[in-house]
Symmetry: C2
Subunit: 384 residues, 2 copies
């Protein structure tokens, strides 16, 4: 499989009260078109990743809505799979290109979450979970707190060990002008922040965010850029698991991510050791620890220790995780996240990231999760 | 393009208060698997078409939800495009097969609408429309009433002319044990039914419905059935138009349907005159009249007259429209509709429909519309 990433763009993530989803999408798409040196007329289909527009805003039919807004009257689709909506949109866009049905496809991930009461948003996000969990009043911090407790019990990991994830990702975000939180936090700050769902504290949790990210994908291009490296997607894989935690045998790993990773490595012909840079779904600090192990980057029980030693930190480690700041510090507009991850890896593999550039990065990976691991999407990218 | 329809199934459509969406999906899938003589283990991916689960029920992530419910832990996706969600799910499932990514794919369309206050449902359905129309208090009967007024003014069509669509589709539904309304209505009954949005009356409108439909698609099969005809999808096309009516030059045609039809005929290598049977998106009587013209079945302004003469009625005409009873009388669980249309055409092309069989049908078409024409999906099928 070889799909070219022709262009990428992203808005700033954050509390963007002054703009609408339409404006966010136009900004991200405009940047992606300009980056690809393409015009709207070159685009043959539009894939939109979004989760909450229906529940929070009563607005569906986002494929047609953004097609109209962009003045791009091509086949348009909304793909939804909770916080993995963006990654799943990319997967389906890729399939349509591999099918030979569309040649050049625009993918947009977008979410507008901060216009609503936070309680409403937390409740809406439970639309990603099992109805029994949802109707019982469970929240996503609560679900991931159970993963954290289970993990801590099994591996002796402490709250302090988990806090290093937030510290690293906040550090990376200080180098990202598009990030929601461009400031450092210390382990002590994380440990002193309010408890949200024991053992997870405020600074263990990704924020509620607005933002849009876009990319243009193609099977081949007549004229290759001579001024920058070409980036290819060499694997796109999806796997599912039980919707709720009650269906799981093990709460210290996400089986969907393990399975999607296995397929992706096989498809791309690479091993975990070949990955230079990854954007993983750190919706909570525990999620990044588990992700690093599910992806085969570290043995079970050892990821938190490796992160603490700087093995995934810019300028220190060999395999850099979440150089953008991740969901934790770059922000997590849920439908946009899976797209933004690929935008970040693309610019990393082109060597365009300046201060937060992972030096010599050749192979990158994205890991996007929906719900508490009900669905996972993995993409592998490489430059040439 | 040649995608085999390996198996199909559908629940009864109607007010199904005693069952959940999960039960509906299981029933439709079980029927499709049995019809295909396949097991769950043969299925490599799941595509779900649904519009309202988020807005009405707060439940998203339906790909993973139904994967879990079926015990089918394969890649799973929800595709949404308002009332075209089912057709768009089929389109993306087909692309994934053409891409060689998945070999045997299950598509499910489902909607559960009658558990809610009808006012809530009418309001939720406006999630398919332009936000300005929605926030102004417009409803879908109101939008289609504007199409009807514009059409009547241009072609001199009367309310009586439109009523024949409902009369025909109710007649067809008397022959369909899965239909929501298995009773005849007369032109006078339509004309005496309460006015919903002038000139559209209650019996011009499709109902609020529950239901699920499923199909299994594949690229090729080792063993072909010797006891029944094989049905192939030979075209799958999508087009978009402005989300709201304010963006349209002409309210007597849906440009998205015209464009999708043009592409579908080209892809399948057929003409409108080759179609023996079609399921079209008759959400309102005027919609079927416009659909028949957009699809090239009759010249502009002549469809209502042709329908009145029985040219599309079972046992009378040569090109039978909506033998299932259509959205009007078979019912319109919105996410299921685009899938059900293909289920109906498949069994028609196999010659399995008994009393409502279109004799000698060889080529069929489905026409599925989202919003007031913002998106249209056309599939062409043939037997062999």
């Amino acid at each position: 499989m070889k799909i070219e990433v022709l262009g990428v763009g992203t808005t700033k993530f954050g509390e963007l009260w002054e703009v609408s989803p339409r404006t966010l999408v136009k900004e991200a798409v405009s940047e992606a078109l300009s980056d690809a040196n393409l015009k709207l007329a070159n685009i043959e289909a539009l894939y939109v990743g979004n989760m909450l527009s229906g529940i929070l805003g009563g607005q569906e039919n986002l494929g047609a809505l953004f097609a109209e807004e962009l003045g791009l009257f091509v086949p348009a689709f909304k793909i939804e799979g909770a916080c993995a909506s963006g990654g799943l949109a990319v997967h389906n866009a890729i399939n349509s290109i591999l099918a030979g049905v569309y040649k050049t496809v625009l993918v947009v991930g977008v979410e507008k979450m901060t216009d609503y009461n936070p309680g409403e948003v937390v409740s809406a996000l439970m639309g990603a979970g099992h109805d029994e969990e949802r109707l019982a009043g469970m929240t996503f911090p609560g679900l991931y707190a159970m993963l954290a407790r289970s993990y801590m019990e099994k591996y002796g990991t402490t709250e302090r060990d988990l806090a290093v994830v937030a510290v690293k990702n906040h550090h990376h975000a200080t180098l990202n002008s598009k990030a929601q939180f461009q400031f450092e936090v210390s382990v002590d700050q994380v440990l002193k922040s309010p408890l949200v769902a024991d053992p997870l504290r405020l600074l263990d949790c990704s924020p509620i965010s607005d933002g849009a990210s876009a990319m243009i994908l193609g099977s081949e291009r007549q004229e290759r850029s001579k001024t920058r490296k070409t980036v290819w997607i060499t694997a796109s894989s999806v796997a599912t698991d039980s919707l709720g935690l009650v269906g799981r045998k093990d709460l210290t790993s996400l089986a969907s991510a393990v399975e999607a990773a296995r397929k992706a490595y096989k498809m791309a012909g690479v091993n975990p050791q070949d990955i230079d840079v990854a954007e993983v779904h750190d919706c909570f600090s525990i999620a990044e620890v588990i992700a690093c192990e599910d992806l085969g980057f570290f043995p079970k029980g050892e990821a938190a220790g490796a992160i603490a030693k700087g093995k995934t930190t810019l300028g220190q480690g060999r395999l850099i995780i979440n150089p953008s700041g991740g969901l934790k510090a770059c922000g997590h507009p849920v439908g946009a996240t899976g797209v933004k991850q690929i935008v970040e890896i693309t610019t990393q593999l082109r060597g365009e990231e300046g201060l937060r550039q992972v030096k010599g990065a050749k192979i990158g990976l994205t890991h996007n999760v929906g719900g508490s691991g009900a669905v996972a999407v993995i993409h592998v990218l490489k430059n040439e």
